[in-house]
């Protein structure tokens, strides 16, 4: 099994072996980040294109740095105007990039399934950097990587995911990735933000946040995507915070050494309080470091490297 030349579209469709190979490669590559000269020649001559139809700070920076640390050339595009505004079609834009010699396209897009579509358009590999409400597979991988660094295992861990599951691609990738690796996932949030069928995915749905937190090894707080809310899904930020946000009191329901995670950017005082976010139990900045390592691994493996070569 190898990831060479493959797309990375979702963790649902990714085999546990491929997940393991990314994680072990990331462990080897992470060391580069702490070198004084952060550059290895591994991907010299390769071109990585980031194509972001949606705003992003850390994901795009993370992919670009990952590529640069391995000496790949990067080109980044943020086509303006999505949906109705008739610009160039995604198919045309992407095929132009392909014929210019791009080796891999990393795309973020507001529409679920857009990366699947792109993979049908292009012969070169496509990496999903977040598509609509669907998945954000490299986020899922970096979350697993981070948990492993602290807990050394995934199997048997209890992971509580809190908040807006409905609109969250991070939640979907984490659910698929973590359950595949043997974790017990529980979720809680406003019922209007919990999509149907979660139990069928092996997830325990709790009515109250406290119940979901009970005995948790990892507490994963989702960003409340204010910009995605259709009116009427919850009454106010204040009420959200009071009933569904993570604060010091609620965190007591989790295990004493529970890890607190958040994909960023945080709405401090809404889904998470500052004291919890900045506490020693928070691994939120570690997630960002893991992100670069995991993306280096993904680019390395897709562009033709083998774990054994490292």
């Amino acid at each position: 099994m190898t990831l060479r030349g493959k797309d990375l579209l979702s963790l649902r469709e990714m085999s546990p072996e491929d997940i393991e190979s990314v994680l072990s490669t990331a462990r080897s590559l992470k060391e580069i980040l702490s070198r004084p000269l952060k550059k290895v020649p591994t991907l010299r001559g390769k071109v990585v294109c980031t194509l972001f139809y949606e705003a992003s700070t850390r994901t795009r920076a993370s992919f670009e740095l990952a590529a640069k640390y391995m000496s790949a050339d990067t080109v980044s595009l943020q086509p303006s105007g999505s949906s109705v505004q008739k610009g160039e079609t995604l198919s045309d834009t992407a095929r132009n990039l392909e014929v210019m010699g791009t080796d891999v396209v990393v795309m973020r897009h507001p529409v679920s399934g857009a990366c699947h579509f792109l993979s049908k358009v292009l012969d070169i590999p496509v990496i999903n950097a977040g598509d609509g409400m669907h998945e954000h597979p490299t986020q899922g991988l970096l979350d697993i990587f981070t948990i492993l660094e602290y807990k050394s295992r995934i199997r048997g861990l209890k992971v509580a995911i809190l908040g807006d599951i409905l609109h969250s691609r991070v939640a979907r990738s984490d659910i698929f990735g973590l359950t595949k690796m043997g974790a017990h996932v529980t979720v809680a949030g406003p019922p209007t933000l919990l999509p149907p069928g979660l139990e069928d995915l092996g997830v325990k749905v709790c009515r109250r946040v406290e119940e979901a937190l009970e005995g948790a090894d990892v507490v994963y707080v989702l960003r409340l995507q204010l910009e995605r809310q259709t009116k009427g899904l919850f009454p106010s930020k204040r009420e959200y915070h009071d009933f569904f946000g993570l604060n010091r009191e609620r965190l007591k329901y989790a295990k004493e050494d529970a890890l607190v995670m958040h994909p960023g950017p945080m709405n401090r005082g809404v889904e998470i309080t500052t004291d919890v976010a900045d506490s020693p139990r928070a691994a939120i900045l570690d997630q960002v470091v893991s992100g670069v390592a995991v993306r280096m691994a993904v680019l390395y493996l897709i562009l033709g490297g083998e774990t054994s070569d490292l």
Binding site: S112, G113, H116, K120, P196, G197
Partner: protein
């Protein structure tokens, strides 16, 4: 006296009389003039050897989009009626979501004039219920009936308010025409891309709940009760809708409904299995296995009156895009007969007679148009099917401009062999000859 067509030794199915036997069928002019075990060959008549074939009353698709006027790049009356003839349909009812909308008699006249110039099968215009399909005030339905419209619909949307639907149903009792309702509560379906359920959760789409359909079905049935109007619910897709229709029929209300081949055969599993193929995007959305089973049951037990394709041709540019941006709809005219034969008739779920009833007799009755029967004196609209012919669905063979189908590559047994409209052979073995 010149007889023009003698159809020999076909198995003749006529659901109205219950007839199912091998007969010769003689056509004079545009009428059936004789049906008997063996009709002697009249001089100068064209002989059609239909041995081994099934002779059905001409199929009528009561829900198609011919896209004319306004969207000729998707389909027009020429290509759409060619597709109909190739698919074994002798008549189609075309929806008014054109540009401009078919909401007044002059557009009805112009569609009918175009149909008489360019059409290959009969075209029955369905006028808009409201002006501009805007859901604000009633369109001139009486004038449109006079011009040749047969029914009314704001298809693409439900009639906007309970009040307007009440008025439309009540007003049309003076004329006897039905309202064909697209049952969808947009406040519940807005932004949805597929059926609400496990699959929409996995795919990351806002789901369209079944209730978005059922709420309007329930509303309209209540209003049919209030007004005594004729209500036809088109492309019903949920088990719950059928339960409501079943009860309405038991109450004796004038309520009928149709189902599409895709809602009879496909589930929302296909969205993910196809890797977000936009040909799976359709409105109402593909539903669950339970709904599909309920549709089949409803067709068997008669809760569902008719099969209609909701033929919705689109240009490739409207489909070769991200899922949210793709237009919903399936080009259905040229796959319907093959699918119904292969998946429902051959396995014995429905009989030939039930198929002919759902695809010919019932639509003729609901729309109040000629056809639907095979007897002496009836209009000579006839569909002949080859039940043993195997084929693969291939959009390259489509006469329709719309190549958007989720059935591409399906191997099917049973296909339309001849389409006769008003005594004239229009399609012979897949080729449009007139």
């Amino acid at each position: 006296m010149t007889y023009n067509l003698l159809i020999r030794r076909g198995r003749v199915i006529d659901p109205a009389s219950g007839r199912d036997e091998e007969l010769d069928l003689l056509i004079q002019g545009d009428k059936i003039s004789g049906m008997a075990k063996s009709i002697p060959e009249p001089e100068g008549a064209e002989i059609v050897d239909a041995a081994g074939k099934i002779v059905l009353p001409g199929l009528i698709d009561m829900h198609v989009h011919l896209r004319e006027p306004g969207f000729g790049h998707k389909e027009d009356i020429d290509s759409g009626t060619k597709a109909a003839a190739a698919g074994g349909f002798t008549a189609v009812a075309c929806m008014p979501n054109t540009e401009p909308a078919m909401d007044n008699d002059s557009v009805v006249y112009s569609v009918l004039r175009r149909a008489s110039e360019k059409g290959h099968v009969r075209v029955y215009p369905v006028g808009a219920v409201t002006k501009g399909r805007a859901g604000k005030e009633l369109a001139e339905m009486g004038e449109m009936l006079k011009a040749g419209a047969v029914a009314f619909s704001d298809d693409g949307s439900a009639v906007s308010t309970s009040h307007l639907m009440r008025c439309a149903l009540e007003y049309l009792t003076a004329f006897g025409a039905p309202v064909i309702e697209h049952p969808e509560d947009k406040s519940l379906s807005e932004g949805g891309q597929m059926n609400l359920g496990l699959n929409s959760t996995i795919a990351g789409f806002r789901g369209i709940p079944r209730e978005a359909e059922e709420i309007i079905v329930a509303r309209d049935i209540a209003l049919a009760g209030l007004t005594g109007g004729k209500l036809h619910l088109t492309h019903v897709s949920t088990a719950g809708s059928l339960e409501l229709v079943r009860r309405a029929k038991a109450r004796g209300l004038r309520v009928t409904c149709d189902v599409t081949p895709h809602h009879l055969l496909l589930t929302d599993d296909m969205v993910l299995e196809s890797g977000y193929d936009t040909n799976t995007k359709v409105n109402p959305p593909l539903r669950s296995k339970e709904d599909v089973e309920a549709m089949k049951q409803g067709l068997i037990d008669g809760t569902i009156d008719a099969i209609a394709t909701d033929h919705a041709p689109h240009h490739v540019d409207d489909k070769w895009v991200e899922y949210d941006y793709a237009e919903p709809g399936i080009s259905g005219l040229e796959t319907a007969v093959g699918l119904i034969l292969d998946k429902l008739v051959r396995p014995g779920l429905i009989s030939w007679s039930r198929m002919a009833e759902a695809m010919s007799l019932a639509p003729a009755k609901i729309l109040g148009v000629p056809g639907g029967v095979l007897n002496e004196g009836a209009v000579a609209d006839i569909t002949i099917v080859d039940p043993e012919r195997e084929f693969s669905v291939n959009t390259r063979d489509f006469k329709s401009k719309g190549k958007n189908t989720p059935f591409q590559g399906w191997r099917l047994t049973g296909m339309p062999w001849m389409t006769i409209v008003g005594g004239k052979i229009i399609m012979r073995n897949g080729t449009i000859v007139s």
